[in-house]
Symmetry: C2
Subunit: 293 residues, 2 copies
């Protein structure tokens, strides 16, 4: 049986340390790191995510601001608010909660955030810096996935890794990070158009999945002893649950956990790490902006 890569516990541990750092920053430097979230509409999942971010930001002592808009908000109004947050001394990290309504271009909104306050690490400039191996604010989900490996002492160097999915939120940046000169994995990016995926994943020592398809990979896709990171969050019907559904990953946890050496559960694996890295990025941004080394 695989060892569970417990994102919830790991995130809690990291957030404890972040809380100490936030306290020290305030005491010693008079800096209180602040996070601002821009939320458009009432998308239930988005509302839940934002509430969670607020709660956990507050818990480690961050200043938190929420700017809520109806779905009828114009691009100009959104930019005005981001401008104001860009200028604010109280705010060091800004994120625009996705998805946005169809009339708003998410990239345009994200690129309106000052790169040094881009807490999600999703702006074109931060992605360009990441890609070039330069210091930057990194996208939270892939950063959290790698941190989870680090916290469990799992070596990346020299390993054969497969990343399934090529989104700019997860797959692409994760592949860049894993194959960076700091990490030195040999990385294959697979996707919906990959032929004979099983042959490819079977050869991998680390498989990271961000495909967005419920339980698409069972044990037949993996070699004994593989390390599996699952960024999928898919609702499936479930009679036993009060809501009538439950969340599963892109991997069939039950069968794969029998042959993997390490595996993330869903929920409680990658998800909590994502929020944790958002908080870490905000503290990091505050340090950078205020010139604290």
């Amino acid at each position: 049986m695989a060892i569970i890569l417990d994102g919830k516990k790991t995130a809690a541990k990291i957030e404890e340390k972040l809380a100490e750092q936030v306290e020290a920053l305030e005491k010693e430097r008079g800096i209180r790191p602040g996070l601002a979230v821009v939320l458009v509409g009432e998308h239930p999942a988005s509302t839940t995510y934002v509430r969670m971010k607020n709660k956990r930001a507050a818990k480690i002592g961050l200043h938190f601001e929420l700017r809520k808009f109806p779905t009828t908000v114009t691009k100009e109004e959104l930019h005005e608010t981001i401008d104001e947050l860009n200028r604010s001394d109280k705010v060091h990290g800004i994120l625009v909660q996705l998805p946005l309504p169809a009339h708003l271009d998410p990239h345009e909104a994200i690129d309106w955030i000052l790169p040094e306050k881009d807490a999600d690490g999703l702006s074109t400039l931060n992605q360009g810096l990441l890609y070039r191996g330069k210091p930057c604010l990194m996208p939270c989900t892939p950063k959290g996935m790698i941190r989870l490996l680090d916290e469990y002492g799992i070596t990346i160097e020299g390993k054969n890794a497969v990343v399934i999915g090529r989104s700019e939120l997860v797959g692409r940046p994760l592949a860049v990070m894993l194959s960076s000169r700091r990490r030195n994995a040999t990385v294959t990016v697979a996707h919906t158009r990959t032929r004979d995926l099983r042959r490819i994943t079977k050869q991998a020592e680390i498989v990271a999945v961000a495909a967005g398809r419920a339980q698409m990979l069972d044990a037949t896709y993996f070699a004994e002893g593989v390390v599996v990171l699952d960024a999928g969050i898919n609702p499936i019907p479930c009679k036993e649950s009060k809501t009538g559904r439950r969340l599963v990953g892109d991997v069939d946890f039950e069968s794969v956990s029998k042959i993997a050496s390490y595996i993330t559960p869903v929920p409680g694996g990658v998800g909590p790490m994502t929020v944790c890295m958002l908080l870490e990025n905000t503290v990091e941004a505050a340090r950078q902006i205020c010139g604290v080394v």
Copy 2:
């Protein structure tokens, strides 16, 4: 025996068409696309490259400007010149010839160029856009490698490709392009820290090498029928040559050309395509800047 992917002939063909486009732009729109090169020092290879760029730009009818500096030039002087070129109506593409002397940061210089005039496609913003799958000026070498496949009618879609090397000039952008939603190859990035490279390249249908090590891969590394793109340019000693040396690629052409289906020679393969794509980027930039669809 492999079919030779003749970069020289292909580049000449594309440049003929570019010459027609340049003529039409001037006749119909009064626009003459212009390329400016900033050269620091007297590095012999750089001088040769710049001369070649000048010659071929002139041949297709581009306006060409060379700004030469001694190695003692300061960052501020360099930026001033780039500022001036950024503002110039005659110049649509600008490149800083690399390498620069140690006291100048190449990224800082490149990022000083307006992104819409970044003819080499190497600025942080253009790399970020490429990575995100957005329209942009693309780095010339990987763009030229893919164009060579296109010109010979070689399918990329669904293929297993291996890119050896992770430089931001060639390997990284090539991997992103090949695995993009437009191209849909399954791409593995291998590098100096990759274990058992032979096992990985043996499984590939397309192998692109940008490792910078003379003839590091012989026929034992490849499967029968593989397509090989070699971006290496390495001088090795050669008694028969007047200069006492000759240029070879990262691949042992003699043995590999016996089992490959297609292969680029060195010289005359990827090299000429790189300059050709620089010219194409300049024409493209001129169109964009002047609003010609």
